[in-house]
Amino acid sequence: MSRTTIDLWVGFFVAIGIAALLFLALKVGNLSSTSSGETYALQARFDNIGGLKVRAAVKSAGVVVGRVSEINFDPEAYMAVVSMKVDGRYKFPKDTFATINTSGLLGEQYIGFEVGGDAEMLKAGEVIKKTQSAVVLEKLISQFMFSKAAESDGPK
């Protein structure tokens, strides 16, 4: 086979190889959605983060607006300190309420922002004051059981 045909075939091979890599990155992966634009850091303190993990989504009104970048433990206050990277395009009011939610009954956990009405916006590095911890299913069930038991004891 002559040299130019080999070059043509190698060019074809490399081209479809790169096409496959692009397919994996864009269609299979999520390169298009995680825009590498500017982000700013926010922090929030929770009593209990449940099963929240690093890289979990931060959502507001169901739309992903950021990711959890770090989870630490504050040994003085015995609280979890969650650092987030939020998309620079979105600003949130100072009295935004950060909650830990679960998608579906057993799905993965994410942080939800419920927006308040404050005129001042959160700046980079600030700490969100109002938070609500993860709902621990076992606690919920035991509370329900105890309240049921108390109810049935009541009338007697």
Partner: protein, 260 residues
């Protein structure tokens, strides 16, 4: 009894000697790779022989592996009522593990054995010594282009394998069984991370490419210059590189996906 110990010792020293020679050989290839990059058409020719000619087997196996994953995954997932997660299962298992590993195993038996046989036969017919006589370094002229051809082809082959596999999973899952197409792709995109999963898969396939090419050229160069020696070397290439791929895969997986 003494004879057994003596034979054992001889085998161990022999293995160690070969390992040392292989490492020295690897360094020699790296040092001589400048010439193979300067004379690019030699390397291009090897990419053609190792990469382009492996395309058919890689694409067809990728398609079938993906289709089997689609069937098996659906069968298991629908018991838990989460058949929409089929896309995640197919994509993650291909991109992280099956793509690089199975493509490398196929590559070792398709291209690695051919490289070993070629270099071994060159040695048996004294072409390598003839080159040395003409002051042509056989490592720079014969070995390094084959090594780099394999190293360059491997990541592309693995990516093609994964892409074909995802397509096969899509064919079976969405077209044949009827999983919802939107959630198939959306859930896949939501849980496959470009850096964590796709890039790590590419790194894996690059490492496997180095392993397979290294073993193949070394076994060929080290083969006994007889017909028997060449056939033994070809077998050793497939066995050694397959074992090395699986062992390296464990190490790389332990390093990359330790679970956060």
């Amino acid at each position: 009894m003494l004879e057994i110990i003596r034979r054992l010792g001889r085998q161990i020293t022999n293995r160690l000697w070969r390992l040392g020679f292989a490492s020295r050989f690897f360094l020699a290839i790296i040092l001589h790779s400048g010439t193979s990059l300067r004379r690019l058409n030699l390397t291009l020719r090897e990419i053609y022989f190792t990469g382009v000619l492996s395309l058919i087997i890689i694409l067809v196996s990728g398609l079938f592996v993906g289709m089997v994953l689609g069937l098996q995954g659906y069968d298991t997932l629908q018991r838990y009522g989460s058949s929409e997660a089929l896309g995640v299962l197919v994509a993650l298992s291909l991109v992280r593990e099956l793509g690089p590993v199975v493509a490398a195993l196929l590559f070792a038996s398709r291209a690695g054995s051919a490289i070993t046989a070629e270099i071994g036969l060159m040695k048996a017919t004294e072409q390598l010594s003839a080159m040395e006589m003409m002051a042509v370094d056989p490592i720079a002229r014969v070995v390094a282009p084959r090594f780099w051809g394999g190293v360059i082809s491997m990541p592309f082959l693995a990516a093609l394998f994964s892409a074909m596999g995802v397509f096969g999973g899509y064919l079976v899952g969405v077209q044949l069984i009827g999983v919802d197409e939107g959630s198939f792709w959306a859930q896949m995109q939501a849980s496959v991370d470009v850096r964590e999963d796709v890039l790590n898969g590419v790194i894996k396939s690059f490492v496997f490419g180095v392993i397979v090419s290294w073993v193949a050229v070394f076994e060929g160069y080290d083969a006994e210059p007889t017909a028997e020696g060449v056939s033994g070397a070809t077998t050793r290439t497939v066995v050694t590189s397959s074992l090395a791929i699986l062992a390296a895969d464990f190490v790389l997986t332990a390093l990359m996906f330790r679970g956060t």
